[in-house]
Every structure is written in structure tokens, then in C-alpha cells.
Symmetry: C2
Subunit: 221 residues, 2 copies
Amino acid sequence: MFILKVLVVGANGQIGTHLVKLIQESGTLQAKAMVRKAEQQEKFKQLGADTLLVDLEGKIDNIAKAAEDVDAIVFTAGSGPKTGPDKTIAIDLDGAVKTIEAAKKAGVNRFIMISSYDTTREAIQEAAGSSFAPYVIAKHYADIWLRDSKLDYTIIHPGKLTNDAGTGQVEAAPSVARDEVPREDIAEVILESLKDENMIGKEFQVIKGKTSIKEALNRLS
Amino acid sequence: MFILKVLVVGANGQIGTHLVKLIQESGTLQAKAMVRKAEQQEKFKQLGADTLLVDLEGKIDNIAKAAEDVDAIVFTAGSGPKTGPDKTIAIDLDGAVKTIEAAKKAGVNRFIMISSYDTTREAIQEAAGSSFAPYVIAKHYADIWLRDSKLDYTIIHPGKLTNDAGTGQVEAAPSVARDEVPREDIAEVILESLKDENMIGKEFQVIKGKTSIKEALNRLS
């Protein structure tokens, strides 16, 4: 199915903001920026994007309503490092699951999840007892829920995110050595994944690299 | 299958301690008390129960090894109100899931989960934003994991737990009005559920009541 309109959940985050901008600049796609606070809407209006207020701690129906007129959903919300693990479980796990269920309710099959670099059982064990553990556990279960959802998913596992300018080049594979990657490049990986039906069912890690994003994704297909 | 030996995960908790005692007094069953700290073992040794040290934040294999010689597993571990939501997600959710996976690995089909009174999506929404929310979310996903596990499960949803002496009488049904229930009576509900194959696949709420525990469970069957 040809993707036209994309609901960006967590649009106010750094990847989300890059993504809305890229979508609006693409000429073919259109973004709907879902944010939590009214003051976060202005920048998206200025980009010409639709924008709406939905709290991820609220009901599935509210998210489903937001998804009614879109062709794809990108989940790039995260409670962030400034909040506690109570928000990690409420947003990174339960918020993600509610968004997946909302996609089903709204009949939106295409779903792209921005996961973290490693959400395997082994990664949970490595993080055990550390402050990072709740986040890994939350993302682990969110990813499982999406894999089991029967949606047309893509799960993106970025390396260590930086605010460096995007290079348009990455390395992407089911497993790559841990390294940095600019958030702006991740946003472009998402955009290209939205455009390419071959990315459905794919799950991969992404770090900075020397291959153009389009080509790097082609090699995954 | 006739249950002889029972692994009690979270034996040092109040329900767990009551349960080990009841199992040892039953004459037919035998308890294996799984605890986290060496100093917690002594009281179980005095009851004549097997006891062993396993950290629920550790590997599935460690739990599976603990389950090798048992016929049933009771999960009554909880991070408790004194720890933060980091432990809630690590123990009440991930510890439960690891125990379920360990049961599969060890070939132990019978599994009894001590859940909380209400772990539905609606209960999560009611708790949203409160300090109780992480616990409800964690138990919600642990219960789902067990329902989907293909194990011979029973999921028990107790009302507000008290330290009152057990009365041997409860009210049990898929849905009952929220009320108190003594921990000692919950331990007896678990014991009777272990003895009764008809309790496989059952999920119910339990509060204090006027029906003998055996009869209350019979009515569920």
C-alpha cells in the first residue's frame, strides 16, 4: 500500500521532530504530529504538518481516533532519561502497546517502531540492576508485542544516538557492532522505510556508516 | 497430573511463607522455597522444606534449574511497596515472565500466579499517573504472558491483602466486589488449587467470604 499520511507518535522528541520535517519536505508524504502538550504544536504547524494532542497515558481509543485518517504510524515516543522508571513502563512499554492496539482498531497496518539498540533477553541480563534495566525491559516487551501483532511492522534498533548533523549514510544489518548514529540519520531511515514496502517485516540495527541510507536499506531487503 | 513437589517463588513474602507452611503441613505435598537471600532460608529449613537461593533478576536457566525436580510452580514474588518501579518492572513483570519461561524449559506444566485484584486495561487506565500504575501495568503483562504460555495455569486475583488470621472461608468468582482478604486464606486458596486439577485454566478474584475455600473453588470449576 502506498503511504501518504503518517502519524508520528512522540513527534516532539528529537527524532520525531527531524522526522516530521523530513516528511513535510518529501513532497509525497504528509505528517500528523501527535504530542502531549499544546505548546509543542506550534513548531509542527509552522512545518505545515497536522498536529494533535493525545496523552499516551490515556485511552487506546484516543490514539485510535488520532490514527483514523493515516496510512502508517511511527512510534518514536520515549519517556526519556529525565523521568523515572514509572514513566518508562507507562510510555515505553504500555504507551507502545496501546499505540499498536490503536493501529489495529483504526485499521492502520503499517507500523514503524523506534526501538533501542539491543532489546534481547541477553541485553536485559547485561543491564540487570543498572538504571538502564527498566528501559531495556520495557522496549523488549514492546518489540515482542509488535512482532506478534500481525501488523506490517519495521523495528529499527539505532546505536547510540547523537545530535551530530545527518550524513545520509549508515550501516544497517540485523546485527552490527555498537556505535554512534545521528538522530537525523535515523529520521531519514524511517522516512525511507515508509516509502519501501520491502521493509515490511524487517528488524535491524543502524549505526553511522559509509553506505547511502537507501542502499543500506536495499541490502536488507 | 498429581502434584507432589511445589516450587514457591517468592517464598519469603508473607503469602509465600504461609504457603510453604501449609504445604509442609498438608502431609501429601512438599515445598521447595526459592528465596533471594541466604538468611531467608533458615525458617524454611525449620519447616522441613527444601530451600534454595535464586535471584529473579538473574538468568532464566537458574530458575529452570530450580524447577527441575518439581511438579508445580507458584509465583508469589513481588518487589513490594518499599522498592521503586525499577524493581516492579524487573520482578513483577520480567521476573514473572522468566519464571514462566523457566517452567517451560524445565517441563513443569502446572503454574499458579498470584496476581493483583484487577489487572485489566481498565484498571491500568484508572491507576494512570498514580504510584500504583507501574504495578498494575507489570501484573497486566505478566498475566497475559501466562495466559498465552500454554502452561496449565491458574491466575488468582486477591482483594486487599491483610494480615488477619485466616478464616478458611472466602468468596471467589471471575468478578467480585473489591474487599479485604487475609493473606493466610490466599495461601490456602493456592494449596487447594494445587490439589485440584479442575482449577487448571481458571482465573478468579478472591475476597473474604462465608464459603469454605474448597467449596468456593468447587463452584468455580
